[in-house]
């Protein structure tokens, strides 16, 4: 009997650039593929158990905890990391707002907060309700307005031990208002 296959070729398209990982260990997460194989250390490892959100990236346009995704299962996926948010030297409006509002201190949760906010704004814009969305406030599929309460609820998968939450919400509001 053949020994079980433990690695595969995996292709990820990251921030618009195609990367072919020719012999990737099946145990490798998307997070470790980014950090250890592609040199993209923006996404952080805070818990490795999808409990803190520091590793949040966008996978095929949706936010995801990349520490829980096995890269081999995401062959061909489109990944956006914090390194891909800016347009050249021009920061993404959320990055600019985080700077001005001091929406971070140590900076370790920041890439996850930023990617999560980008995904969250798109989700609300696509009409996805949250647990705090009052029933009947928006027609099915219509954008959900992002009140501070909505932002806090939808961003609660991203922990910040420095306690920059108030400033992060203000930064998101600066962009969504």
């Amino acid at each position: 009997m053949e020994p079980p296959q433990t690695s595969s070729a995996v292709t990820l398209r990251v921030n618009g650039v195609r990367h072919r990982l020719r012999d990737l260990d099946h145990r490798t997460t998307v997070l470790d593929a980014l950090r250890e194989h592609l040199g993209l250390t923006g996404a952080k490892k805070g818990c490795d158990h999808a409990q803190c959100g520091a590793c949040t990236v966008l996978v095929d346009g949706r936010r995801a905890n990349s520490c829980l995704l096995l890269a081999v299962a995401y062959d061909g996926a489109e990944v956006t990391t914090v390194e891909g948010l800016a347009d050249g030297d021009a920061l993404h409006p959320l990055q600019e707002a985080f700077l001005v509002r001091d929406g971070f201190q140590c900076g370790y949760c920041t890439p996850g907060q930023l990617c999560s906010a980008v995904g969250m704004i798109a989700e609300a814009g696509g009409g996805a309700p949250s647990v705090v969305t009052p029933p009947g406030t928006a027609a099915a599929g219509a954008p959900v307005p992002l009140s501070p309460e909505e932002i806090r609820e939808r961003m609660s998968g991203n922990l910040c031990r420095c306690g920059a939450y108030g400033n992060i919400v203000a930064a998101v509001e600066d962009v969504t208002r």
């Binding site: 818990c47 990055q95 971070f104 806090r152 031990r161 920059a164 108030g166």
Partner: protein, 689 residues
């Protein structure tokens, strides 16, 4: 409008993901390590079978106490890893797997077979534990026990008395970046990228452990993902990484798994605090006893100095402040944001609220009546103390005047609403530091100092202090921090960074200006460099007591069906010397208050009596505040001019934000419900009783 302060100098790197933390430096050939924690609460390692681990593809080595490099003893035995067969507590590291990839290292660690000879263990802190003793010193070198006047007599004759015991459970720092090191040896030189609060402390400790001249060791901590005390002292990851790099001849990366942190990076110890306040009918305190019972480990004595605030806060002519500690088979406790002050002020400020109720005095007014111009325990006058101003200003901003003091006096549907107040306090520490200032022929400045920015805004405030001392614009000053190759400086701890670093930077910059002036204002080719050291400037026994003060006001709602407590508003006013950067200072205050919300309502770790393990070891079980828990947190400050502090007139602000928050919230819960919860965190079942 007041100056909002500059944005963080490294802000762009942090929001674009280019700031590199300790685990993000990967020298060619880097191997990955994964530790094996002890699976018994006490005993001895009988055998380590590494056969299966070494058979894993990609295996490099398994280090155990039998083959690991020998270490010399330093002043912290928690760092003597893999040196003998002893297991002093569960989670103590007994082996280290090293492999070509992180996946292989993890698999190897799981495959290491360790046999133990377990021994009886004792891990439960009880107020009557037979091995309790009074330590000579508690943390920060404070006396373990102090008596002034005649507490027993004064308390017995006091017309109003409060006798209450408050309990708190172990707390975990949990910075977002777990401890990590990337280490490599080259030609007898060690370079370690380490997630720490002070590279000099790590460098000196490694020099001692490995018997290497510290000039041959470089520790880099350019960006650090939070610390809150648990990275203030060197931790096992840097020792293990350096050992593994020496053993394998390769660079080694060790990033600790989150769930292992509770056992190896310190914790705030559980505390039992008995407060007795005796006062006149007017609420003025005549007798104060603050008696603390806590645990330490058998490896290292650390005593949380929780009675210390009662030596500093209020008039107390007759006082007893004591600590008792027992060494249990538990992980070693250590610094967590405002060690001593945070839990001590929770107990004292709740007791003050109980005294206010007992005496029928408004809680703000009670604190004003017990204000003191001199530190009661030392008798030294405060260099500046604006507690009363903080209380008054906070009361005004919060709308305290309209408060009905009766519990359960305010309801909104099924919610009960209450408000509470507490004082904040944190002492000022200055530690010797050195710095270098350089000016180029073209008038560009460079300041070098081994300050550490763990998120406080250190890099930015160092530049601000330099620019002001030099008398030039901020954008003409470049700053280098975060490496032991720079002029040595105090670590980011004890809220003493800005004062200690700033003092040295200020001195170097003034010396540089004097050099330029001596040359008639010209700078020669190659520039000029001035260095400074504050070792002789900082008085060892200053004639004044120095501390930051503040007042925090909380409004909570309590759901009468579920018992859920929510903080609706939290307002702090602080008097903390001159605020040097409003933008980052506000973040420090609200960040501390946010951690205080966690302490009040969410955080608590349980020692499992049978397994000797903290039951809540990860972020799914140990709850820290998240976005939805935090609303309406405001921080303000009053201008304080104090020339007795340091050349900047600054006090520390990194820790005072967490001091008093839990008491303000617990007092608000009592006001809302009439239920006095004396055990943190204030969980629904305790409120519903």
């Amino acid at each position: 409008m007041s100056d909002p302060g500059p944005v963080r100098l490294e802000g762009r790197e942090k929001v674009t993901g280019t700031a590199r933390y300790a685990a993000e430096h990967t020298p060619p050939g880097t191997a990955y390590a994964w530790p094996v924690p002890a699976a018994v609460p006490r005993g001895r390692v009988v055998a380590v079978d590494a056969g299966a681990a070494l058979a894993e593809p990609g295996a490099v080595a398994v280090l155990t106490h039998e083959n690991a490099p020998r270490l010399k003893r330093v002043d912290d035995d928690t760092l003597l890893v893999l040196q003998n067969d002893q297991v002093p507590h569960r989670g103590w590291y007994v082996a280290l797997a090293v492999a070509d990839t992180p996946e292989a290292a993890r698999a190897m660690a799981a495959a290491v077979r360790v046999s133990y000879a377990p021994e009886e263990h004792d891990v439960v802190l009880t107020p009557g534990h037979p091995r309790l003793y009074v330590p000579e010193k508690a943390n920060a070198g404070v006396p373990g026990s102090r008596e002034r006047g005649d507490f027993d007599g004064a308390y017995a004759s006091a017309p109003v008395r409060v006798d209450a015991t408050y309990t708190t459970h172990a707390l975990h720092n949990h910075p977002m970046e777990p401890h990590a090191t990337t280490a490599r040896w080259e030609d007898g030189r060690l370079v370690a990228y380490d997630s720490c609060q002070g590279a000099n402390a790590v460098q000196e400790t490694l020099a001692g452990l490995f018997g290497v001249d510290k000039g041959r060791i470089t520790v880099v901590a350019e960006h650090v993902g939070g610390g809150f005390g648990c990275k203030g002292t060197p931790r096992p990851q840097v020792v293990l990484a350096a050992m593994a790099a020496r053993h394998t001849g390769r660079p080694v990366r060790l990033a600790l798994p989150r769930a292992q942190l509770a056992a190896v990076v310190g914790h705030r110890a559980p505390l039992v605090q008995r407060l007795r306040l005796g006062a006149g009918e007017d609420g003025v305190i005549s007798a104060l006893a603050h008696e603390v019972t806590t645990h330490t480990s058998t490896v290292r004595e650390f005593v949380e100095q929780a009675a210390v605030p009662s030596r500093a806060m209020y008039v107390s002519p007759n006082s007893r402040t004591t600590h008792r500690v027992v060494a249990l088979d538990v992980p070693s406790p250590s610094w967590m944001r405002a060690p001593g002050e945070a839990p001590g002020m929770y107990a004292l400020e709740c007791a003050m609220d109980e005294l206010a109720c007992a005496a029928g005095v408004d809680p703000v007014e009670l604190r004003v009546r017990n204000d003191t111009a001199a530190e009661p325990d030392s008798g030294k006058p405060y260099s500046s103390r604006h507690l009363v101003e903080c209380l008054r200003e906070g009361a005004r901003r919060f709308g305290w005047e309209a408060r009905d003091p009766r519990p359960r006096s305010r309801a909104e549907g099924r919610l009960l609403v209450g408000t509470g107040v507490a004082s904040s306090y944190y002492p000022v520490f200055h530690m010797p530091s050195s710095a270098e200032a350089h000016v180029t022929e073209t008038g560009r400045y460079r300041v070098r100092i081994n300050a550490t920015d763990i998120g406080t805004g250190a890099r930015t405030v160092v530049a601000l202090i330099a620019a002001e001392a030099l008398g030039v614009a901020l954008d003409r000053v470049a700053v280098e921090i975060g490496s032991s190759d720079l002029p040595a400086a105090w670590l980011a701890g004890g809220s003493g960074g800005t004062g200690s670093w700033g003092w040295a930077v200020h001195k170097a910059c003034r010396a540089l200006n004097a050099m330029v002036d001596a040359r008639g204002g010209t700078v020669p080719p190659g520039g000029l460099t001035a260095t400074a050291d504050t070792a002789d400037d900082i008085p060892s026994d200053p004639p004044h007591a120095m501390a930051s003060f503040g007042a925090q006001f909380a409004e909570v709602t309590v759901d009468t069906d579920t018992g859920e407590v929510r903080v609706r508003r939290l307002l702090g006013v602080f008097a903390a010397g001159r605020i040097l950067n409003a933008r980052t200072a506000r973040s420090q205050f609200i960040g501390g208050m946010t951690m205080g919300v966690g302490m009040a309502l969410l955080e608590g770790s349980t020692m499992d009596p049978r397994f000797g393990d903290f039951a809540e070891r990860d972020l799914a079980s140990y709850h820290v505040p998240t976005h939805a828990d935090v609303r309406g947190i405001e921080a303000h400050w009053i201008d304080e001019t104090d020339p007795l502090l340091n050349p900047m007139g600054s006090k520390g602000i990194g820790e005072i934000g967490i001091v008093g928050t839990a008491a303000a919230i617990a007092n608000a819960v009592h006001h809302a419900t009439g239920v006095r919860v004396r055990d943190l965190p204030v969980l629904p079942e305790k409120v519903l009783g």
